[in-house]
Every structure is written in C-alpha cells, then in structure tokens.
C-alpha cells in the first residue's frame, strides 16, 4: 500500500512524535475522533452565529436551576444564563436549544463540540479549568456541600454520621469532598453512587442510605421532590466551597468573553437598579454607568462584536441577576433559598462583577 510521505499528512508531521507516546490510545482515538473532529470546524462563535442558536448543556432536571416544565420549556437560574447569552448575541432570548446532560456526560459533550456552552451547576476547580480544555466564564451561584438526613434518625450534626450509608450522584466534586470529610474526621461511610439525581432521591427515599449529600442548593431542590419533604432535614454543616458557573471550550476567546460578560451584565444591572420592568425608563437616565450598560455611550457593543443594545436585550428579556435569582430559587419559587453569599458585594454577599466601561 502507498502512504504519501509528503501528501495529506505533511501539515501534521510535527505531531507524529506523539504517535509513539500514545500508540496505546489508538482505539480510543478512533472512538472519539469523529466527535472531536466536528469541534475543529470553525471557531465556536462563528459556528453559533451560522446556525442561529446557542446549544446549551443543562442538567437532566434540577428544580430552580434547570428544569423543563410540562410543556418542555426550560427554566431556572442556569437556564437564564444561556438565555442571556442568546439575548446578547441574537437579540432574542428564545434562540437557545437545550441538551440535558448527566454529571458524567457534561464535559465530554462540551469538549466534543456537541454543545456550545455548559450551564449546569458545575463547580469551578483547578483540575477542570486546567486539564480538560475548558474555561469557566464566571460564577452564577456560590454553593457549598451539605447533608440531608431523615428526621427519624435523630441526627443533629454531620459529625454523628460515622458508619452511615451515603447516597451520592456519580461524577461530581461531591464524591471527593465526601471522602475527604469522612477521612479527615476519621469516620467510616458506605458510598452508594447513582447515575442521575432522580435515582439518588429514590434511593434516599427508599432508605437505601441514611444520608443524601450534594450541594446545598440542590438539597433544597431535591427535598421538595420527596413525597414527604418535612420528613427530611438539611444538616447545618457546609463542608466545601462550590462556586458554580457557566463553562466554555478553550480556544475561542471571543465566545468566552460574550458568555462572561452576559453574566456580568446581569450582575451590573442589579447593582445599578436596572430591571426588566424599568429598563425602558432607564434609557432616559443620566447616570453614565446606566447609559454605558444600556449601550448609549462608552464602548457599547464594539469590543464584544455585539449589537450596542446587547445588555439592554439581556435585562429586558431575561432580567437582572436579582430578578433571575428570586424567580427561580428565591422567594418567588418553591425553594425559598435566601440570597446569602449570592447577595451583591454591597449587600452582604460576594457576587461582584467588573464594571462595564
């Protein structure tokens, strides 16, 4: 057979040395190369513009963050970030398609180009940021891991949990924090690892495990899924830092900027008191900060390559961060989570966005 020495492969010859190093991974390469191959087809932003919508990875159903209603419409705090990006890019928050993903599937889906961005209560860690070819575009929810137990057990603190069976969802940082916590406190446990959060809840309800562990926001969300929400309680301990935020693939900085600043626009809008209800009146404001946000003066949409009213569209169609929070997880929702860490920096929390100027 003939393999051209200076034919189609010439451009990749500098990569050939890797062949030896990775000869063993030949089979996997075959398995994933088709998927990864599609990611190469143009920069993410160009691809998104060409197809006319944002393909956004969300959870398979987590109340308050990303959940589909009975008509199949997605809603939630994470979903609103996807919508904000669509509003900034296309001027229409509806131009999003959602891919429900399990915790295990999410990074592969993003790496392979199946989705353009991931907004799925994903914790920002060093490994994920540096080793997976991904970039975290910000933090839309500051969370921490906690424990939920049945009230019948009479447990008041996580320190009393030695020997307990713990239901947990596969492929999460929770799994590692749990092991760390029990090891550090010299306690034993039995991890029961399920694939989806639905099965995790079922296992907990049936009594397969004594404890369900997850990010605290999720615990409140999962608790209302129980047949008897009042029979379960969330323990006071928070055992980890879980900054959750939207994620994009490395390699397209323009796209990364759009996602990051869509989230920043929502935060800045709340800080400036601009909401979906008053945004049209605010156009008449004389405050230069507000005028810059709404694209009336300053750099406008130029740096991001967007229309000047990009931030106006976000606030008008999706709302500011505070509105999204209250509507999805706060007082306007069944979850009733207080702002806590997620209040703005000038209001006792740590949500802080760089200025638009």
């Amino acid at each position: 057979m003939v393999v051209p020495k200076h034919g189609v492969f010439t451009t990749r010859e500098n990569k050939v040395y890797q062949m030896k190093k990775l000869l063993v991974s030949a089979i996997p390469a075959l398995a994933l190369s088709i998927a990864v191959g599609t990611a190469q087809a143009g920069e993410t932003l160009d691809a998104v513009k060409a197809k006319g919508f944002v393909q956004c990875g969300v959870s398979t159903g987590l109340p308050g963050f990303s959940v589909a209603d009975d008509k199949g419409n997605w809603g939630g705090l994470d979903v609103d970030v996807c919508k904000a990006v669509a509003a900034a890019l296309f001027g229409d928050a509806g131009k999003v398609k959602f891919s429900p993903l399990t915790a295990k599937e999410r990074f592969t889906a993003l790496q392979s180009g199946e989705i353009d961005m991931l907004s799925r209560n994903t914790t920002w860690t060093l490994t994920r940021d540096s080793n997976l070819g991904l970039n975290f575009a910000g933090v839309n929810y500051y969370d921490g891991q906690g424990f939920m137990v049945s009230k019948k057990l009479g447990v008041k603190s996580a320190m009393e949990l030695s020997g307990a069976s713990v239901c947990i969802q596969a492929g999460t940082t929770t799994e590692l924090n749990l092991a760390d916590y029990f090891r550090a406190n010299k306690m034993e446990y039995e991890p029961i690892t399920y694939d989806t959060s639905d099965e995790t809840v079922k296992g907990f309800e049936a009594g397969r495990c004594d404890v369900l562990t997850s990010d605290q926001s999720q615990l409140y969300a999962l608790r209302i899924k129980l047949s008897d929400p009042n029979g379960a309680m969330v323990l006071p301990e928070v055992i980890s830092k879980e900054p959750l935020g939207p994620v994009v693939r490395q390699g397209d900085d323009d796209w990364f900027n759009i996602v990051r600043w869509s989230l920043n626009a929502m935060l800045n809008a709340e800080e400036l008191g601009v909401s979906s209800k008053n945004v049209d009146e605010m156009k008449g404001s004389s405050d230069p900060n507000i005028r810059r946000l709404l694209g009336l003066e300053g750099i406008k949409g130029e740096g991001l390559g967007l229309a000047d009213e990009w931030a106006y569209n976000i606030v008008k169609q999706v709302g500011n961060y505070g509105e999204a929070f209250e509507r999805n997880v706060g007082s306007g929702s069944p979850l009733k989570i207080s702002r806590g860490l997620n209040a703005l920096w000038n209001n006792g929390g740590i949500q802080y966005a760089p200025p638009i100027r």
Binding site: S25, A29, E190, T193, G207, D210, G251
Partner: protein, 396 residues
C-alpha cells in the same frame, strides 16, 4: 486437419491490468491502504484536536490518588489508593456479577428449558409463562424492578428480618456470618485438593473398568464420600480450626460478617432471570433437535429414562445448544454494564464513570474499558469454542 491452431485458440498471457489475479491483489491492497489511512487520519486528528484544546493525554493519571470511595471491593481499596486501582476494583466487580449471572442463568435456563417440554401440563405452562414474560420486558426495566421494587424495599436496618440472630435481611443487604480461618485450616484445604485429585483418577479408572468388563461403578456416591469425608476428617483432626464472625447492629447498620449488597442482588437476579429465558429456549430447541428415533432406539435397547437422557439425548442436544449458549454468556457479561443505573460499582460505574469524570481522560478510560469487555468476551468465546470442539460429533 493437421494445422496446429493452438496459438490462436488457447488464450495467451493477458495484459497485467486484465489479469484477474493481479487485479484482485491490487484492489485488496487499495482497500487495506484506504482503511489504514482512514485510521491514521482519525488518530492524528484526535491528537491534534486534543492538543489544540489543551486536553492532557497519556496514562500517567492512573498513578494519582483517587480520593473517592467505592461500596464494594473484592480487593483492598480506600480513598488513598490510585485511579489504576479503581480499574481493578471495577473489573473484579464486573467479573463477579458476570460469573454469578452465568452460573445461575445456566441453572435456571436448563431447568426451565426441560420443564417446558414436560408432559406435566402445569409445569410446562409455568415454564412457558416465565419465558414469555421475562424475555419480552427490557432488561433495564427488570433491573429497576428488582432493585427499586424489591431489593431496597426490605425493612430498615433497625427492623431487620432476622433468622436465628445469625442471618439478617434489610434494605442495606443480606448479612450473614463470615468464616474466620485459624491455624491448621490449611490441612482441610489440602485434604480437599487431595480428594479432588482422587476423584479425577477414580472416574478415569471407572471408565476403563466399564469399557473392559462392562461393570458400572457408583462414581457419584464414591466421589461425594471422598469430597466430603476427607476434608471432614482433616477438619476434626486439626481441632475445629474455624470460627464465625457474626454481623451485629452498630450505629446505622450491621457491621462484621459477610454481606450481599441489594445492588448486587438485584443485578444478578435481573441478569439471571432475563438471560435464563433465552437459555431455556436454546435448551428446548437443542432437545427437540434430537430425532425421536434416537429415543425409540434407546428404549428398544432397554435403557432407563435417566440413562436415556444422560447417554443419548443430552450429548447430541449439547452440540446444538453450545454455540447459541456462548452468545448468551457474552450478552450477559456485556449487559452487566447496566449496573451503573442502580449504583452497583462495576467497571462502567466506577472506572468509566467516576474516575473518568474526576480525571477527564475520556479517550484513555473508554479505550481501557472497551478493551476489558473485548477481552472478557473473547475469553468466554475461546473457552466455549474449546468446549464445543470437545463435544462436537467425531466422525470416524
């Protein structure tokens, strides 16, 4: 006619591009070349893309500390062991459930296959009902059923069902005493090995004797006597070198003893019941493939019913049964990867699940996982092919 028209009539050597042999070789070479180039392109493209996206590659992650726990492990494992160790933990759990499943499915399948041909109306209908129901429900649903509807619906640990304060059944599993060997137990093991070797030689001797003299020998009873008797004598001689560790309720759950997780129970049961139906049908077909004339001839020779089955029907039926049986064993092994759905820590759940997600090394991990299932399947095939060749009709 004395002319020699041979030059004109017999075809001369055709031109190379018309020679069918050369053509065949050229086309095959082209095909092989195209396949190799395609493969080369895929690998290159993957490496290039992963490099471009800053995804790290290689197998060095296997040595890093895993940092997560696993419910069930046949080898020593905790959070401080490496990712490489999680591979073996998952692999052994997969092998465990596959071996258990194959064993019980074969048992159930043979019983139900024979029962379906029973002359007893009720027995035959029960077998038919079993086969038709469980063959036609998707396996995943059956796994969910055995797990969520049965496996974890037993009482909570504090209200366990107890049998003589020794066996306990609750929604955390089945707990039973664990034998703890003491000094001198090696003697019992040695006795068992001697008994097995003795039985092997005795069977050979009995065959030869029967061939030579026609005298049958009660090998079954003699073997049983040897297998039970010898170790028992050694056990008593060594002064009872075995104690039991009993499970007891401590804190949230039972500690000590042996336990069978509900996940293992549900998965084994579902795989057994599902694959058993296919094996039953295979067995039925095998038995029915032996012509009735064989049965009549055996009866004419005066063979008893049991001998008829043992010497005439089963050896011939096995030739039909073994090849499809192999496929069922392969299916069962591969189906065991549905374990992830109910939290049984098999290879897919532990290694291609948690480890993959913690490290992000999808390409390497999926490759290793696929290689495992391929090797497991090829091993089963190899063994069954050997067995098939052994059972095949020897034409003289």
């Amino acid at each position: 006619m004395s002319d020699q028209p041979s030059d004109a009539m017999t075809p001369g050597k055709p031109a190379p591009w018309n020679d069918p042999k050369i053509r065949a070789i050229v086309f095959q070479a082209l095909l092989v070349g195209a396949v190799v180039m395609f493969g080369f392109y895929l690998i290159n493209n993957t490496l290039y893309n992963m490099e471009q996206r800053g995804i790290s590659t290689g197998f060095s992650f296997l040595e890093k500390e895993s940092g997560f726990g696993v419910t069930q492990s046949l080898i020593e494992y905790d959070e401080t062991h490496s990712y490489g160790r999680t591979f073996f933990v998952g692999l052994l759990n997969t092998v465990l459930v596959s071996v258990l499943g194959i064993f019980f499915a074969t048992l159930l399948g043979f019983v139900m296959g024979v029962a379906r041909l029973s002359k007893n109306w009720l027995v035959a209908r029960v077998a038919t009902a079993y086969i038709e129901i469980f063959r036609n429900i998707p396996l995943l649903l059956q796994i969910f059923f055995w797990y969520f509807a049965v496996g974890i619906n037993f009482p909570r640990p504090r209200e366990s069902l107890a049998l003589g304060e020794v066996f306990f059944l609750n929604n955390r599993g089945l707990f039973m005493p664990r034998p703890v060997t003491e000094d001198g137990f090696g003697l019992v093991v040695a006795a068992l090995i001697i008994a097995i070797v003795a039985v092997f030689f005795m069977v050979r001797w009995a065959h030869r004797r029967q061939d030579a003299t026609g005298q049958p020998f009660h090998t079954v009873w003699a073997s049983l006597g040897l297998l039970v008797g010898l170790p028992l004598v050694a056990f008593l001689a060594a002064g009872n070198p075995l104690t039991w560790e009993y499970p007891e309720l401590r804190g949230f759950n039972f500690k000590g003893g042996l336990s069978v997780l509900p996940e293992l129970f549900a998965l084994t049961l579902a795989l057994t019941v599902y694959t058993g139906t296919f094996i039953a049908e295979t067995v039925r077909a095998g038995i029915q493939s032996v012509s009735h004339g064989q049965t009549e001839a055996a009866r004419a020779l005066g063979l008893r019913e049991s001998k008829l089955l043992q010497l005439i029907i089963i050896p011939q039926a096995m030739r039909v049964i073994i090849p499809p049986l192999t496929s069922q064993y392969l299916n069962l092994t591969k189906n065991s990867s549905l374990a992830a759905a109910i939290g049984y820590p098999d290879l897919v759940a532990v290694f291609a699940g948690t480890t993959l997600n913690q490290t992000g090394q999808a390409v390497e991990i999926i490759a290793m996982t696929m290689a495992v299932y391929l090797s497991l399947s090829l091993t089963i095939s190899l063994f069954m092919n050997w067995y098939n060749a052994k059972m095949a009709l020897r034409e003289r």
